[in-house]
Symmetry: C2
Subunit: 574 residues, 2 copies
C-alpha cells in the first residue's frame, strides 16, 4: 500500500475520552472512529487487522471440523420466549418492532436460532455430533459502553454451537474446541491462559474462559505457581486452611470504638493485626430464613466473592446487600458495629474464619467491638462455606503450589450447555433404538473485535503499538528519505516495495511528499506498529545499503540492497 | 468435503411457499432456511457460494483502489435527521430505541455515516479522490418480503462511497466503478447488462443498474437491436415518432357504448384497431393547476410510465390516481367514458398520441364515445410529453435500431450523487486556493446475497442448479458406487479426492453409506449443481477408468484413472 493513496489517519494528540491504552492507540493510529457511544467504524488500517484475526479463526474452526453458517442478526421474539431468555436478558438485549408491530431482537447470541435449525434439520443420532459456527455482528446494549472496541455495543463474534447424542460426545467436542482455541490464540501470537470459569447467564455445566493477560484486564485470574491450574477468581475455590486453630490466649473484652466504623479504622486505632478481625456483611436471605436477613462473615483482609455467596442455600439470588435501616431494625446496631457474637440473625462463616482465634468483631451494640473472641468458648458457628475471593499466597485448590493473581481480558469462552436450550425448545433426535433423545449442546464464543484491543493492551510501548506478526496490518514499512531530491531513492524504494509485495507481504510504502517530514513518517510507523522498517537514503545507496530496524529493537542494522528482500523472506513467516 | 461429515440438507419436495425457481432450488439444495419472513439462515452449502461471490467483489474493489472499511449496522438518528432522510425513508427503515430511549436505525445504506466520517477526516483536496467500501449486513423492512433471498429484509450488500473535489473527478471514478462492476459480473460468469437507470429515492445525477437477465426478473430492460443502448424501461425515452400524422378521413361521430368500459371492450365490440384508441387517466395535479386534477392521454395499447409522469410540471409527485368520485364531480362521467374532446380539465398527451388521426375516445358523457377524432379539426393539445413505457419495435432513443425488451434482476447500481449529502451535511474540503468546497459524491452498491439467487434464476434446469464455475460451492463431485462391497472403489475415490483437494479444488465426496442409494446421490449432485462429476465403480476400475460427466452435458465420458486428476486440472480454471 502506498501511503499517498491510503487513508493514513494518525493523530498526534491522545483523544480526551479514551482511558485504556488500546482505545487511545486505536484512535491515534487511525484504526477506528467513534460513530456514537459503543458504535465504531473500522477504518482500513483497523479492518486489515480484524480480517487477519477472522482468517485465522475461520481456518482453525474449519480444520476442527466445524461448519460455517450465517444466521440473521434480527431474530423473531417467539424463539426467545420459547427458550425463556426473552425475560432473562432484560435491557441488555435490543428489542425491535417491525412495520407490522411484530417483536424481534438484534441477536446478542444465537442459541435459539441454531437450536431451531437443528431440531428441524437433524433427525437421527447418525447426523451427530455436529458443530456450526458463524462470524457475525452482534449487539449488546451495554449500560455504559467503554474502552473503545473492548466493550462496545455492536461487535463481531465468532459463535459456535455443537449438538450431541450424549454427554460423552459433548465432552469430546468441548476438548476439541478447547484445543482449537489454544491453536487460534497461539497462532495470533497472544500471551493467554485458558481458565476455569463460571457459566453465568448462559447457563450449563462446564466452562473455560480464554484470557489474554494484560494489566488493564477487568478479570482477575488465579494461577498455581507449580501446576497448570488457572481459574477466574470468581470461581477459584479458597480451600479450608490445613492448619489447626490456635488455642485462645485472650479474654473476651467489650471495647468502646466510637471512631472505628471500618476495619481499617479499627486496625489503625487499636493496633490489631487485620488478620485478627472479621467483616460481617448482611444480605437478603431466601424464603427459608425467618426474618429475611443473613450475615456473611469473612476475615478483615478478605473480599466477599458475590458469585460464590449467591449460589449458597439460604442466600437470595441475585445477591442483595441489606440496607442500613433493615439491619438496625433487626440487630439494633449499624453496619460498622456488627459481628458474629450475640448476632440475632443466622450467619455463614468463611472457611478461613473457622481457623481464627482471639479475633475482634463488632459487638452488635452501636460503637462497641468485642476483642479476643474465640470459637467454642464464646460462640459457635453452624454454617461454613467458601465465600471469599482467593488471594495470592493461598494454597492452590488443585493441591499443588501457591496462588498467583494476574489480570486478564476475556477473549474466548467455551461452555457445556447440556440440555438447557434443547429441553426448553424440545430439540430431540432418534437414538440407536429409535427413541427420541434430548440433544446435548455446547457453545463456543470468541470476541473477534475485542481480540484486536486485547492484543494492543498486551503489545505496546510509549511510541505505539507493537503488533504480533500474525496480526499486523503491514509486515514491512518502507521510508524513502528525501525522495524529492533523489529519484534513485524513490526508484529503489519502489523496486523493493514491489518485490516484497510480490512475495506475499503486506508492505506500507510511505511515499507522502516532502510536507510530511521523515520524523513524522517514523513516528507514524511506530504508532501503527509495523514490525519491520526499512529506511532508504541517498547516503545509504552510495554504500549499497538500506537501514533495517525491528519495531521492538532499538538497534538498527545495515543490509545490502541486494540482500534485503531475501533476508526479509527468511525472517518473516507468512 | 466428505458428505458423511457435512450437512447435506437436500429436500425432495418443493417447499409450498416458494414461488420463483431460485427460492425453490436454494431451499431444496439446502443452501438456506427461513427463520422468519424475510430472514434466512445461510447453511454451509449456501455460505460457500456467498463467500466466493464476496471474494471476487473484494478482490476487484481492492484492485480498483477502493478502501475497505466496516461501519456499524446501528446508526444514530441524528445523522439521518441532518441529511433529511429520517422522514424520507418511512417504514422501510427499521427504527430502534436503545436502553436510554435514544433513536437509532438499523442501516439500510450508509451515506450519512460515511459522509460524517469524511467531513471529519478529509480536510484537503490533496486527499481526494477517495473511495470507501464495505461488505455488510443491511436491513430494509420490506412490506412483503418474497422470492427467498431475492427480496429479503436482512441482506448483505457491498456499498461504496467516493468523494471528489469536482464533477470531473466524480465522473472518472464513476467510470472506474462501472468498469469494475463489469469485471466483477464477468468473473462471476453471469449474463448481465449495465443499463441506464433512474436515481430514485437516493437522488443524484447519473446512474446505471447492472441487471442479470432472467425470465423471472422484476425489471424490464429496453435494448437497441443494433447498438449497445440499454435502459431500465422506467427511464427509456419513447421518442417522438418521425412519421407525419395521417390526414383526417372520418367524420366525428358520437356513439352509444353502454357495454364498453375498457379499451378491450371498445376494440372488441366496435371492430376498432387498438392503435386507433386512447386511454385517458386522471391523476392529482400540483398546486399550479386549478381544480386539482389533470388527465394523461396515451394510446390504447400503451402503458403509462408513472416515473416519467410524476416528474412532469403540473403533476403531483408521488403520482396519485384520482378517485372515481372526484372525477365524476368535475367531468360528469366515470373513468370508462373519458376522452380529450370536451374534457373540462387540462390534459397532457403522450408524444405518440399527437401523431394519431381518426381515433376513438370517451366523450366525457356516461356510456358514450366519440369515433373519428382528429387533432386540429376537432380539438387542440397544449402539453406534450413522453409519458408511456417504451415497447418492442419502438425506435431506440440512441438513434440506432429498434427496441427489444428483456426482463432482468438488479444486482448492482452505480450513482453520481453530486452534493446531495455533502451539502446538507456540510462536508467540505479546502481546494488549491484554500477555499472551502462542497464535496461531490458517488455511491456504488451490489446486492451480494441477491447475486446468488439471480445466478440460479439464470442457470438451472429441471434437475436443479447449474452453477457458473466461479460460484459453485464444489467444483467436483465424486460418487463411489457400491463402496460397501468394494474397498478398492472407496480407496480410489479417496485418493482422487485427496489429489484434487490438494490441487486447490473444492471437492464433494459422497461417501454416505449404502442407505443412500446411488440414484439419490446422483440426484443430489445435480440438484446442488456441481459442474464436474466422477463416478467410480468396480466395473470401471477393472478397465482402469472412471466415468466423467459435466452437469450441463448429457454425455458421459470414460477417463483413465491415472489421467483423471491431470485432466480436471486442465479443464477447471481456479
Amino acid at each position: 500500500m502506498r501511503a499517498s493513496k491510503y487513508l493514513t489517519a494518525t493523530v498526534k494528540e491522545t483523544p480526551a475520552d479514551a482511558v485504556v491504552i488500546s482505545h487511545k492507540l486505536m484512535l491515534r493510529a487511525g484504526m477506528i472512529r467513534k460513530v456514537a457511544s459503543g458504535l465504531y467504524t473500522w477504518l482500513p488500517l483497523g479492518l486489515r487487522v480484524l480480517q487477519k484475526v477472522e482468517k485465522i479463526i475461520r481456518e482453525e474452526m474449519n480444520r476442527a471440523g466445524a461448519h460455517e453458517v450465517l444466521m440473521p442478526c434480527v431474530q423473531p421474539a417467539e424463539l426467545w420466549k420459547e427458550s425463556g431468555r426473552w425475560d432473562e436478558m432484560g435491557p441488555l438485549m435490543l428489542h425491535l418492532k417491525d412495520r407490522h408491530e411484530r417483536d424481534f431482537v438484534f441477536g446478542p447470541t444465537h442459541e435459539e436460532v441454531i437450536t431451531d435449525l437443528v431440531r428441524n434439520e437433524i433427525t437421527s443420532y447418525k447426523q451427530l455430533p455436529i458443530n456450526f459456527y458463524q462470524i457475525q455482528t452482534k449487539f449488546r446494549d451495554e449500560f455504559r459502553p467503554r474502552f473503545g472496541v473492548m466493550r462496545t455495543r455492536e461487535f463481531i463474534m465468532k459463535d459456535a454451537y455443537s449438538f450431541h447424542i450424549d454427554a460423552q460426545s459433548l465432552q469430546q467436542e468441548y476438548d476439541n474446541m478447547y484445543a482449537t482455541y489454544c491453536r487460534i490464540f497461539d497462532r495470533l501470537g497472544l500471551d493467554y491462559r485458558p481458565v476455569l470459569a463460571d457459566t453465568g447467564a448462559i447457563g450449563g455445566n462446564a466452562s473455560h474462559e480464554f484470557q489474554v493477560l494484560a494489566e488493564s484486564g477487568e478479570d482477575y485470574i488465579a494461577f498455581s505457581d507449580s501446576s497448570d491450574y488457572a481459574a477466574n477468581i470468581e470461581l477459584a475455590e479458597a480451600i479450608m486452611p490445613e492448619s489447626e486453630r490456635e488455642p485462645a490466649k485472650q479474654e473476651l473484652t467489650l471495647v468502646d470504638t466510637p471512631d472505628a466504623k471500618t476495619i481499617a479504622q479499627l486496625v489503625d486505632q487499636f493496633d490489631l493485626p487485620i488478620e485478627k478481625t472479621v467483616k460481617t456483611l448482611v444480605v437478603e436471605a431466601d424464603e427459608s430464613v425467618e426474618g429475611g436477613l443473613i450475615a456473611l462473615i469473612i476475615r478483615g483482609d478478605h473480599e466477599l466473592n458475590e458469585l460464590k455467596a449467591e449460589k449458597l442455600a439460604k442466600v437470595k439470588s441475585p445477591l442483595t446487600m441489606a440496607d442500613e435501616n433493615s439491619i438496625r431494625a433487626v440487630v439494633g446496631a449499624g453496619p460498622g458495629s456488627l459481628g458474629p457474637l450475640n448476632l440475632p440473625i443466622p450467619f455463614i462463616v468463611d472457611r478461613t474464619v473457622t481457623k481464627m482465634s482471639d479475633f475482634g468483631a463488632g459487638a452488635n451494640i452501636e460503637d462497641k467491638h468485642y476483642f479476643g473472641i474465640n470459637w467454642g468458648r464464646d460462640l459457635e458457628y453452624t454454617d461454613v462455606a467458601d465465600i471469599r475471593n482467593i488471594v495470592e499466597g493461598d494454597p492452590s485448590p488443585c493441591g499443588s503450589g501457591k496462588i498467583l493473581i494476574k489480570k486478564g481480558i476475556e477473549v474466548g469462552h467455551v461452555f457445556q450447555l447440556g440440555d438447557k436450550y434443547s429441553k426448553s425448545m424440545n430439540a430431540t433426535v432418534l437414538d440407536q433404538n429409535g427413541k427420541a433423545q434430548t440433544l446435548s449442546m455446547g457453545c463456543y464464543g470468541i470476541g473477534v473485535t475485542r481480540i484486536v484491543a486485547a492484543a494492543i493492551e498486551q503489545n505496546h510501548d510509549e511510541n505505539g503499538i507493537v503488533w504480533p506478526e500474525p496480526m499486523t496490518p503491514f509486515h514491512i514499512g518502507i521510508v524513502p528519505l528525501n525522495a524529492h531530491k533523489s529519484p534513485e531513492v524513490m526508484e529503489t524504494a519502489e523496486q523493493i516495495y514491489q518485490q516484497l509485495t510480490d512475495a506475499g507481504f503486506d508492505v506500507y510504502l510511505d511515499d507522502r511528499d516532502k510536507k510530511t517530514s521523515p520524523g513524522v513518517k517514523f513516528a507514524d510507523m511506530e504508532l501503527i506498529g509495523i514490525p519491520h522498517r526499512l529506511v532508504i537514503s541517498d547516503k545509504g545507496l552510495e554504500e549499497g545499503i538500506v537501514e533495517y530496524k525491528h519495531r521492538s529493537n532499538a538497534e538498527k542494522e545495515n543490509i545490502s540492497v541486494t540482500d534485503v528482500v531475501a533476508k526479509l523472506k527468511d525472517t518473516i513467516v507468512l
